[in-house]
């Protein structure tokens, strides 16, 4: 579904990605892990049109994404939940969710999706008319995911959904992701909590200083000797 081929990205004169290649098949859950500064967020940014590649190719369902704006890429069927949640604190939960349907033309189907999302994340229903700034960290993460889902993405990109959350809350988030997997949503998951992400995924790539250091199925990566220390310096 999504193919990244020899992607190179630089911030000014500082190169961040030195030729990253990865692939996400339809219906798969793929984890992208690695230490801080490895280039995981940069990879997602490049896919979503937030960073311009210096070289390489990004293809989604056969067509290139390079050069498209985020608004266009969203309408191609991708959605991004960026690092740090970024919910609109000055808007209500309802308005935040409404923004998730920005690109939707089908009002009644969108309304049905909204209902479904509120059922899946009941806390959002309770806080529906409140300011989104009143939600806790974990609740905001649920809002961010729910909001992204409302565009009915075929590929969901998540950047560090567990960041700053208590373990119990992380469990809840991964439970929600499990339900998404069951519904057939394709997921590319970037995480620093590597073990958790790899266990959850079907396949994983390990990124280190802008390059793919290892890749394989869940079992292969987990079985790697010194997986955590060698590749993640933990």
């Amino acid at each position: 579904m999504l193919t990244i081929d020899e992607l190179r990205v630089s911030y000014g004169r500082v190169p961040a990605l030195h030729g990253v290649s990865l692939h996400v098949g339809e219906g798969e859950v793929v984890a992208l892990v690695g230490p801080n500064g490895a280039g995981k967020t940069t990879t997602l940014s490049a896919v979503f049109g937030l960073a311009q590649p210096a070289g390489g190719e990004i293809t989604f369902e056969g067509r290139s994404l390079v050069g498209s704006t985020p608004e266009q890429i969203l309408r191609r069927g991708l959605a991004l939940v960026p690092e740090g949640r970024h919910i609109f604190g000055s808007l209500t939960v309802a308005e935040n969710l409404l923004l998730g349907t920005t690109a939707r033309r089908d009002r009644s189907a969108a309304a049905a999706d909204l209902e479904q999302v509120l059922t899946r994340f009941p806390v959002l229903r309770s806080y529906y008319s409140s300011s989104a700034g009143n939600l806790s960290g974990g609740e905001q993460q649920q809002l961010a995911i729910a909001r992204a889902l409302l565009s009915r993405p075929r590929l969901l990109l998540l950047d560090e959904p567990s960041l700053g959350l208590a373990p119990v809350v992380i469990d809840a988030v991964f439970d929600a992701l499990e339900e998404l997997r069951a519904d057939g949503v394709t997921i590319l998951l970037v995480e620093q909590a590597a073990a958790r992400a790899v266990e959850f995924a079907d396949r994983a790539y390990v990124l280190r200083t802008g390059r793919v250091a290892a890749s394989g199925t869940r079992e292969e990566i987990l079985a790697m000797e010194n997986f955590e220390t060698a590749y993640l310096g933990v």
């Binding site: 970024h86 000055s90 992204a148």
Partner: protein
């Protein structure tokens, strides 16, 4: 007592005008971080449209004035500010200064620099007598129109999809784009609304002063700055509050400064701006979005 009431009426009237000017600035600043120095020229072109139109009915005059201001607003966005998207705020400010300078001289080129007189409306020039207080009809219309516009703008921002998109863009533009909000549409809408505000402001200003000149927009834009800095840049509520607070200060200085200091009124106003920027740069109202723009 009557004199005091007169001052109050003046303060509210001026405050309404300043609120209108300030809103035009605050709207665009909130979304783009751009202080549009050329907003004054939007008022100016609207004013010239009135003068050049002849004598159709007032409704036509208002509509055409607004249309002209909106057209210029959209034009400056498309031609000058879109290519500069992402530039630093001071660069944008300089660019808007250049546009302002260019448009003023365009007016000089086409119309000459001498002021042109015009008479907008007989009805508006009259006043109601309430006891010993004289209330110009124009003042009532100004305040009423401003309140109506504020209400309409509020409804638009709160109740429409585009309004929600604009508020989201003002808080976190990047995230809004990630959700599919089209940057070009939101920004063009903001400029369009600021053109609308400028056009209405132009009509009220010309009705009040009866004349137009190429530098007509210079004072309004200065007063708009004062209003928005006082009230809080990027906050629409702040611009309105700042406008009325400044209206009170303006009339207060005008009426109560000792005679020899009265011509220094503008100096006091801008000293207040500096003080505000130093002491409370976020203005009197803290904008609900966390980002400090200044």
């Amino acid at each position: 007592m009557a004199l005091f009431l007169q001052h109050v009426i003046d303060a509210i009237t001026y405050g309404s005008q300043f609120a209108l000017y300030g809103l035009g600035i605050a709207l665009i600043f909130g979304i783009m971080g751009l202080i549009n120095f050329a907003h004054g020229e939007l008022i100016m072109v609207g004013a010239y449209a009135i003068v050049l139109m002849g004598r159709p009915s007032w409704a036509v005059v208002v509509l055409v004035t607004i249309a002209v201001a909106v057209a210029f607003a959209l034009g400056m966005e498309r031609l000058a500010f879109r290519p500069l998207r992402g530039a630093s705020p001071p660069t944008l400010l300089i660019a808007s200064f250049a546009i302002s300078y260019g448009l003023q001289n365009l007016a000089i080129l086409i119309e000459g620099s001498a002021p042109k007189g015009t008479h907008v409306s007989n009805w508006l020039s009259e006043s109601y007598q309430v006891g010993s207080v004289s209330v110009p009809k124009l003042d009532i219309v100004t305040v009423a129109v401003t309140i109506a516009l504020l209400a309409a703008l509020g409804l638009f921002l709160q109740r429409t999809r585009m309004g929600v998109q604009m508020r989201a863009a003002a808080e976190d533009f990047r995230m809004a784009r990630i959700l599919g909000v089209r940057a070009n549409t939101v920004i063009a809408t903001a400029f369009g609304i600021s053109g609308l505000l400028a056009g209405i402001g132009a009509y009220l200003l010309v009705a009040q002063t009866g004349e137009v000149a190429p530098d007509l927009g210079s004072n309004p834009v200065l007063y708009a700055f004062v209003a928005t800095v006082l009230g809080g840049m990027g906050s629409l509520r702040g611009a309105v509050l700042g406008g009325y607070v400044f209206g009170a200060i303006f009339v207060g200085l005008q009426s109560y400064l000792p005679l020899e200091l009265r011509s220094y009124r503008d100096a006091f106003a801008f000293a207040a701006v500096i003080a505000m920027l130093l002491v409370r740069p976020q203005g009197l109202i803290v904008a609900r979005s966390v980002v400090t723009r200044v």
